[in-house]
């Protein structure tokens, strides 16, 4: 048995991802404050998702409504990403999936694919990663129980964020 209860936290992979990118974005997303998906970037992501692996069979696997894995093949789960900008966040997201699956008694390894860069990265669930994930889960809970969103602090990638006009306009 694992001591971390996934169910009571209801943390999705996206939330893990956002936690490592921007805590404000995480809070806003959680409260349903979403931005219009207008940008070219989002469109590219969607296309990428649809056309990257047309031949692979098991795509988009959803477990317990909490995690949505892009591809499951044999002993690997694969997450497709557009760019490496948020690599750390991507690694933790897929690490979270592995951690979650491990809790269900399934051991897998992860691969992050960057079809556009023709690259991929392997992710293995280590003890270090597990403790980092547990920290993150606690951190997410703290952020999400805040009555107001964490203040906007300008980061180098804010200008490309869908929330940019919301945060700084």
């Amino acid at each position: 048995m694992m001591e971390t209860s996934f169910d009571s936290l209801r943390i999705t992979g996206v939330k893990i991802n956002y936690f490592f990118i921007c805590k404000r974005k995480l809070w806003l997303f959680d409260r349903g404050i979403q931005m219009e998906q207008e940008s070219e970037r989002v469109l590219l992501g969607k296309l990428l998702d649809e056309y990257s692996y047309p031949r692979k069979k098991r795509r988009r696997v959803t477990i317990d409504d909490l995690i949505a894995i892009d591809l499951v093949e044999g002993d690997t789960v694969r997450e497709v990403k557009y760019s490496k900008v948020f690599e750390k966040a991507s690694i933790m997201q897929i690490g979270y999936y592995l951690f979650y699956l491990k809790g269900l008694g399934i051991n897998k390894k992860g691969i992050i694919s960057y079809p556009r860069l023709r690259k991929s990265k392997e992710v293995v669930l280590t003890d270090e990663m597990i403790s980092e994930l547990k920290e993150a889960m606690k951190g997410i809970e703290e952020v999400l129980t805040m009555p107001s969103p964490p203040v906007a602090e300008k980061k180098p990638y804010c200008r490309k964020c869908a929330y940019f006009e919301f945060c700084f306009g």
Binding site: R31, G32, I33, Q34, E36, P147, S148, P149, V151, A152, F164, E165, F166, F168, G169
Partner: protein, 325 residues
């Protein structure tokens, strides 16, 4: 993305992933759906359910105006962006008298700021500006929304009274009359105000704000009364200067109006001129001081919705938009 204003008569229908406008004279026009922000129907247009389902799927509002160019209603697609949290906070700010007053006053303040800014462009308006300021002072110390509304109403009356100082003589303007507008200036102001209202509704719809919960106006006053609130700030910023310019440059003349028992209204040619100028204005860009980017007036309307959301979420205190240039 932009607004499409349809003055013609004919049929509007779905054609694959585009809208097809078929004018009664046979002319056809195709509008790709992704270019559309909202559609404004002024003419006699036929459309069917398939069109509405398509617009709903794509989240595009359709605003309808009657024969006189008055706002009749909106086909607002089902909500795509809902935030229960925000709705609760909107209600909280309505129910708490202090929180409500804060926002109501902010809207009045923004409105009067732009009204004074307009008058300042013309000579001889100082006494009017001063009187508006007196009303604004009283508004700050008002103790109820009703009292605040009173100050706002009087300040607006003073503002309109100043128009005769600078509008072409033949457009003499006695007083503001809405239903029905009695003379050309009233007709122009009403037309401009409806456009601001629907444009704000379109922008509001793109956010999670619930347009029916308002602060200055009572939520029961109009279906989308929050848009009335926000429109206060932008009517004098966007619509009124257009009225002044169209009249004083002679672009709009008395021939652009029809007068009948129901009052005075822009005819089709007049509407076309106004809509063209309005659309240009919405697309005009300003360098935004905080974003350090050029943004259009239309974007400014959306940013105002964002500011309101930030206020309601306890993120940043709301201050009404005030043109700084």
């Amino acid at each position: 993305m932009q607004s499409y204003y349809l003055l013609c008569s004919g049929t509007l229908k779905r054609n694959e992933n585009t809208l097809l406008v078929e004018k009664s004279d046979g002319e056809k026009k195709v509008i790709p759906i992704e270019n559309i922000d909202s559609i404004h129907v002024f003419g006699q247009m036929n459309f069917n359910k398939e069109l509405l389902v398509f617009l709903a799927r794509e989240g595009k509002p359709l605003h309808i105006y009657n024969y006189y160019g008055n706002y009749s209603g909106t086909f607002l697609p089902r909500d795509k962006n809902v935030s229960g949290e925000l709705l609760v906070r909107q209600v909280e700010h309505y129910l708490d008298p202090q929180k409500r007053f804060f926002l109501a006053l902010a809207f009045v303040e923004g409105a009067m700021f732009h009204a004074k800014r307009n008058l300042r462009e013309y000579s001889g308006t100082e006494p009017f500006i001063q009187k508006i300021e007196e009303e604004l002072d009283k508004a700050y110390s008002a103790t109820s929304i009703a009292e605040l509304m009173g100050c706002e109403g009087r300040a607006k009356e003073i503002y309109y009274q100043a128009f005769n100082l600078f509008l072409k003589e033949e457009f003499y303007f006695e007083k503001r009359e809405k239903r029905p507008p009695s003379n050309p200036v009233n007709a122009l102001i009403s037309f401009g105000n409806s456009l601001i209202y629907t444009t704000i509704l379109s922008e509001c719809y793109r956010t999670q704000l619930n347009p029916t919960i308002s602060y200055l106006h009572e939520p029961r006053e109009r279906r989308f009364s929050l848009c009335l609130d926000l429109a206060e700030i932008f009517k004098p910023l966007i619509a009124d200067p257009l009225v002044f310019r169209l009249i004083n440059t002679g672009l709009i003349t008395k021939d652009d109006f029809d007068q009948d028992l129901n009052g005075c209204y822009l005819n089709d040619r007049g509407k076309e001129k106004f809509l063209k100028a309005f659309d240009q204005k919405l697309k005009t860009t300003i360098k935004h001081r905080r974003l350090k980017r050029k943004v259009s007036y239309r974007t400014i309307l959306r940013l105002e919705c964002y500011k309101l959301i930030r206020h309601l979420l306890g993120d940043e205190v709301y201050a009404p938009f005030k043109a700084w240039w």
